[in-house]
Symmetry: C2
Subunit: 103 residues, 2 copies
DNA sequence: ACTTTAGTTAGCTGTCATGCTAAATAACAA
DNA sequence: TTGTTATTTAGCATGACAGCTAACTAAAGT
């Protein structure tokens, strides 16, 4: 059973904003971006204070939000930034450009 | 003792993304926008399922993030959308437009 | 086969957010 | 002053989340 378009959009917004609500996750996205868009889990984790499993879970949240994707390569996992996915945020902000109904 | 600019920026991003992480709060902002930018607490609350105190707390979070401000008028409180504050999000997104360091 | 390397999953814990109801405040109306 | 309306604060219960360590999986090296 598939969701309506509106419901899907809402779920996207939910997932993306939820992922962005944690400083570590926002930071991961920036690190990914400034390192060229892709890195292995290990190279990401070594840049953060928290334990590796904790970072791993943050990455999972990011993947589930669609902001990042993973590809397994040998025993490594390569995380890749999906820049286009940030459009979810831009689209949401776009509502505030539309002129409100007048009183 | 004042925070450095960078620390203030970081705190702003934190507060704003945190405020935006809850669907109800995002919804409040949209309602405010489409109703012309300002509403009393009561008129906001009546549009939401959750109890009035719960909405009230959401409003508080929004105010603390700077996305909304309040003004007391008689026994009512008027909540006002601060559209410019959404620039915090835009600025953050702006990082991803900057070209990453090349490898 | 055994070890090392890369990374995730499981399970636990403490903290914090969210929801509720009931009580408090504060302005206005009678 | 008593009551009513508007709204917040207090206090509590529940649940989600983030952190940790330990255990697990899976690929690669020896």
């Amino acid at each position: 059973m598939s969701l309506s378009r509106a419901a899907r959009d809402l779920a996207d917004v939910e997932a993306v904003f939820d992922a962005l609500s944690h400083e570590t996750r926002r930071h991961v996205l920036l690190v990914l971006h400034f390192r060229g868009g892709e890195m292995t889990a290990g190279r990401i984790a070594e840049r953060f204070e928290c334990s590796w499993p904790t970072t791993s879970r943050h990455l999972k949240v990011l993947v589930e939000s669609g902001l990042v994707s993973v590809e397994k390569q040998g025993r490594e996992r390569i995380y890749r930034l999906n820049r286009e996915r940030l459009a979810v945020v831009e689209r949401w902000l776009g509502w505030f450009e539309r002129s409100p109904a007048r009183p």
